[in-house]
Amino acid sequence: MTFLRQSLTMAAKDLRAELRTKEAINASVAFALVILLLFSFAFDPTAEQTREMSGGLLWIVFAFAGALILNRSFARELPNDCLDALVASPVSGAALFFGKCLANAILLLAVEFISLPVFGVFYNVWWTQRFWPLMHVLVLATWRLTVIGTMFRALTVNLRLREMMLPVLVYPMVIPALMAAMQLTTVLMAGEAIGADNLIWLRLLAGFDIIFTALGLVLVETVLVG
């Protein structure tokens, strides 16, 4: 079975399991929407303030909502020693990792697509005015979050304090990606195009995506087989 087929099989399994239980997605969507609503009531920002903080607010919400999805990622392999059954099978560690990243990215993107219209309504922001560039930023930054999160989840899966360790390990590593995503999202929410002075952030996102995906694919086997 090819790498891609193995990865897609793993991703389909994770998505099927999540759609049955909806444990992570429900918690993640609820968290994202509540935070967005609470911020809009608590601060009641002006149009100018909204424009300035849109990127920061959205990506803080997505980062924390993403942690709820990533926590389930390898945790669902623990009951019944399913992880052992997977690691003992011919599926490569890299395919297992990539499949989980795909599933986590799809789930997190779903949370983001649900949150954006709510953000638009409650903050009076026309978020679709730079739709396709915004989608590019969403996909690149979400992939970065899920790759790093999935990798560290694999690392911490057998630790007792894994729920606490994941945010402690992941957030410092994703700060560059979050900064890039925040900057780009703020620009796009203001209706401006990504200019030459902001391209560096886009390159940062793309470059780190490639680097961390490659690192994850190479290192995951070592992490999973103790």
Binding site: K13, R76, D81, A85, V87, A88, P90, V91
Partner: protein
């Protein structure tokens, strides 16, 4: 070429040596009973043979290749303490998933065939979380045998099985023996293990206390081995 070989295998958990200089060979088609008290190292050794854990020193091979090679993992069927089955998926979905991962030509057809063999065809679309313990164990047996492994690593497979599941597993093991599949079986059920096996390895505190052919004496008096060579 041996089907399974361990050469000078050591495994440490921190400073504690769980396995100490383990060496043995299992010929193709043989059935090895891996015996020992709780904590002797049986599960640790089986995990290393299955490629789930790495030896600190030494080497394990399956048909001459490292346990972590893809070709090796294709040949191995494992039934450990955990059943390796997803509660959120149905019985059919579980077997189809593992059928795909093991590269079977017809994962769907093979899954249906095995569900019938273990008596779960009527509940094939029910989520596994609704199954009784015995049903789960039968499904786990199906998962381990699904891809026709040439080497079976079974860690206390009879534990928590109901009578029907025990009968199914015993039939499968006898059939596997007849098909010259290599079996490594760790169990506390001495009589069943010794009746089935051709070789015996007794572990004691991480060392090989006895390694050799199964004898008539052992079958007649299963406790003899522990009295002679155990702690």
């Amino acid at each position: 070429m041996s089907a399974v070989a361990a050469e000078g295998v050591w495994k440490f958990y921190g400073d504690f040596p769980a396995l100490r200089d383990i060496s043995f060979q299992v010929e193709p088609g043989a059935c090895l009973a891996l015996l020992g008290r709780n904590g002797a190292g049986k599960t640790t050794l089986l995990r290393i043979l299955a490629g789930l854990s790495r030896a600190a020193r030494g080497r394990v091979t399956v048909y001459g290749k490292d346990a972590r090679e893809q070709e090796t993992r294709q040949r191995i069927g494992i039934l450990g303490h955990g059943i390796g089955i997803y509660d959120e998926l149905s019985a059919f979905e579980n077997l189809r998933l593992f059928g795909k991962l093991y590269g079977l030509k017809d994962p769907r057809g093979t899954a249906l065939e095995w569900l019938e063999r273990v008596g779960l065809e009527r509940v094939k679309d029910s989520p596994v979380r609704e199954f009784s313990r015995g049903m789960r164990q039968r499904l786990a047996v199906a998962r381990a045998f699904l891809h026709g492994p040439s080497v079976l690593l079974l860690d206390e497979p009879f534990t928590a099985l109901d009578d029907r599941a025990i009968a199914i597993l015993q039939q499968l093991l006898v059939k596997a023996r007849g098909e010259q599949r290599t079996i490594l079986l760790s169990t506390h059920q001495l009589r069943e293990a010794l009746e089935l096996s051709t070789q015996v390895v007794l572990l004691s505190r991480g060392r090989v206390a006895y390694r050799g052919e199964r004898t008539a004496e052992m079958v007649a008096d299963p406790g003899w081995l522990y009295r002679q060579y155990g702690e």
